[in-house]
């Protein structure tokens, strides 16, 4: 609770401010859309949180989003695969990607930054080659398949809980249980703090690190899938660009430390919500211009990080 207090307050402040300043912010439609976007981006945030907790980083998330977001419709529409087969393929490929990252990082002792920087280039390049730079989407077909990304559980006539958000909640719940209630979660947190100690306690730290990269890539793939189901339009050259940075920013906002060993799933979800809320605010508040988006998100992130650090240092000094 303590760790997410700051970001929770930030969320509430921005929420209330937008409710006053923005037009129709509290309408059911807008609230639903906020949940939907939090759902989509939140999956990436949770994925990268696992990697960050081990003290690693994954810069390839946006490219995995691109690979899956373009690859699945390409398989379905251009290669006549069934949606199920395409999804299976996405699962297998993203798992292999995670295993490969983990292998290079634990066995060859390469640095996560370097490995995933290469991956960022490679997967996007591969997708562009595969799709031959053509836009991908399902056209008007596969409504049922696409409903995973577009439908909502109706609550009122205007407001429903979008499936992507439901999926996020399920994933977040599993992730939370995994991280806080199971031995593997405990191992991850321990090794993120002190890898040597974890190893000397008989934990197979390499395997856990690999697992974290697998989780990250698979959640990036799930995110990519839902993005394309939801938006139905993807261009290999720019789909998912910079999404890794948004995901990392959300995780940092949510209390993950890039030094490892620290992070809460709830915080990441709230961090994602703050980012999405900010973007929504910029569109809904008249005097905020849309080209200020980066500026505002960057400043909020920086202020949050500085505040967090100052508070931490103060607490440390008081002890």
């Amino acid at each position: 609770m303590k760790k997410i207090k700051g970001i929770l307050i930030t969320l509430i402040v921005i929420y209330v401010a937008t409710a006053f300043l923005g037009e129709n912010f509290l309408g059911g439609y807008n609230q639903g859309k906020l949940l939907e976007r939090t759902g989509l981006y939140g999956l990436l945030g949770i994925g990268v949180a696992f990697v960050i907790i081990t003290g690693g980083i994954d810069l390839s998330i946006g490219s995995v989003v691109c690979l899956v977001g373009c690859g699945v419709p390409w398989l379905v529409m251009k290669q006549d695969w069934s949606p199920e087969a395409a999804v299976m393929m996405a699962i297998v490929v993203s798992m292999c990607i995670g295993l490969w990252h983990g292998f290079l990082i634990t066995k060859l002792k390469l640095q996560p930054f370097v490995v995933t920087l290469c991956s960022l280039l490679i997967y996007r390049g591969a997708t562009r080659g595969l799709a031959e730079d053509q836009s991908q989407g399902f056209g008007g077909d596969y409504e049922a398949f696409r409903s995973w990304g577009t439908e909502a559980i109706s609550v009122t006539s205007k407001f429903g809980i979008p499936y992507p958000f439901v999926i996020l909640i399920v994933v977040a719940a599993i992730a939370w249980v995994f991280l806080n209630k199971t031995i593997w979660g405990r191992y991850l947190i321990a090794l993120g703090n002190n890898e040597e100690a974890a190893r000397l306690s008989g934990i197979n730290t390499d395997r856990m690190v690999i697992l974290s990269y697998v989780i990250c890539s698979m959640l990036a793939a799930l995110g990519g899938l839902l993005f394309i189901l939801n938006g139905n339009s993807a261009q290999p050259s720019d789909f998912g660009n910079f999404y890794e940075l948004y995901a990392i920013a959300a995780a940092v906002l949510g209390g993950c430390s890039l030094r490892g060993g620290e992070g809460t799933i709830v915080g990441v979800v709230i961090g994602t919500a703050v980012m999405q809320l900010l973007k929504n605010m910029i569109n809904l508040v008249d005097w905020l211009k849309s080209h200020m988006e980066f500026l505002i998100v960057g400043v909020v992130l920086l202020v949050a990080v500085i505040a967090d650090e100052i508070i931490k240092q103060r607490v440390r000094r008081q002890r």
Binding site: Y29, N232, A234, S237, S290
Partner: protein, 323 residues
């Protein structure tokens, strides 16, 4: 003489088979350009020349792609300008070393020999007319576009606005994107950009649906914008209620016109841009300057596509694309 000079330069770039080689350079990567590519390649096949299509990722990338083409030594290049004013110098450089024409977006101050395409301002104006048809009783309109930094986008948007506000035609006008333009019947509330991030493009539509509940029409000015508008409207259950006018010929847009969910779209003729570019270049290289009209503009007019003329257009397009 220009042709001769270019020929001399390309002499060192002669390929093994002695085939002439041409290049099309686009503004970016998009399905719109795929059609253009097809047009160019078809012309190439027919004329027995080589055609290469390069799709740069940014203005800076376009420059290095052009330079690499010069290094390689192609006989002629047709380029879609990104920033006609500032890039004129670059185009001049290319024009000196090879034969240069422009397509889709002109760079009139440069030494390009001819422009193949239409005026984006006029096309925007045509788009505005479609909006007027879609909501004859007037109302609020929101525009969506990838970005406003490139010239074609700026002019296209201005055309729509000027038409809706019943101003006189003036392509050099520029209204700041953040402000609403209020006319007698029509109000252009805002222009939203997404920097080609599709998820953001869709979120922009959704946020405008939230902010302006009474919005009467939405206009998507880049090829991928109308499908995103449709998707957002569909998910909001407001299809039909908010009129949609598009630009370009994305399949989803065309299908929606057929279904009646999009009022109409303004199509350029990217196939023809590509195809004609190669033919003109071929003619110029072979010393035939008669292909250049007086005003140095080969007009490939934009067309308004509505439900009534959709079928013929679509069939023709599919035929050209070999589908």
């Amino acid at each position: 003489t220009a042709a001769l000079g270019a020929f001399a330069f390309s002499g060192c770039g002669e390929k093994d088979g002695g085939k002439e080689s041409y290049a099309l350079v686009t503004t970016g990567v998009a399905s719109f350009w795929d059609i253009c590519k097809k047009g160019g390649e078809d012309a190439g096949e027919e004329l027995g020349v080589e055609v290469e299509v390069l799709m740069p990722s940014s203005g800076d990338d376009q420059r290095s792609k052009l330079e690499d083409l010069l290094a390689k030594g192609v006989d002629g290049i047709s380029v879609a300008a990104i920033d006609p004013v500032n890039q004129a110098g670059l185009y001049d450089e290319v024009a000196e070393e090879s034969i240069l024409i422009t397509m889709d977006t002109d760079a009139p101050t440069s030494k390009r020999q001819v422009y193949v395409g239409m005026d984006n301002y006029d096309a925007g104006w045509m788009c505005g007319e479609l909006v007027k048809e879609a909501i004859p009783e007037g109302g609020e309109v929101v525009l969506f576009i990838g970005r406003l930094e490139q010239d074609n986008a700026k002019r296209r948007r201005q055309g729509v606005i000027d038409c809706l506000l019943d101003r006189g035609k003036d392509p050099s006008r520029f209204d700041a994107p953040g402000q609403s333009q209020i006319g007698e019947k029509y109000t252009v509330l805002a222009t939203l950009t997404d920097q080609f991030d599709r998820a953001k493009g869709k979120a922009n539509v959704e946020d405008m649906l939230t902010k302006h509940e009474g919005v009467a029409a939405m206009v998507g000015l880049f090829a991928y914008n109308p499908p995103l508008i449709l998707e957002a409207l569909k998910q909001a259950g407001r299809i039909g209620e908010v009129k949609v006018v598009g630009f370009d010929e994305d399949e989803v847009t065309l299908q929606a016109i057929k279904d009646g969910t999009v009022h109409g779209t303004v199509v350029q003729d990217p196939y023809e841009y590509g195809n004609r570019s190669i033919r003109v270049l071929h003619a110029l290289v072979n010393g035939d300057t008669s292909v250049i009209p007086e005003n140095k503009i080969i007009d490939i007019p934009a067309r308004q596509i509505r439900k009534d003329n959709l079928e013929t257009f679509w069939t023709d397009l599919n035929f050209k694309l070999g589908k």
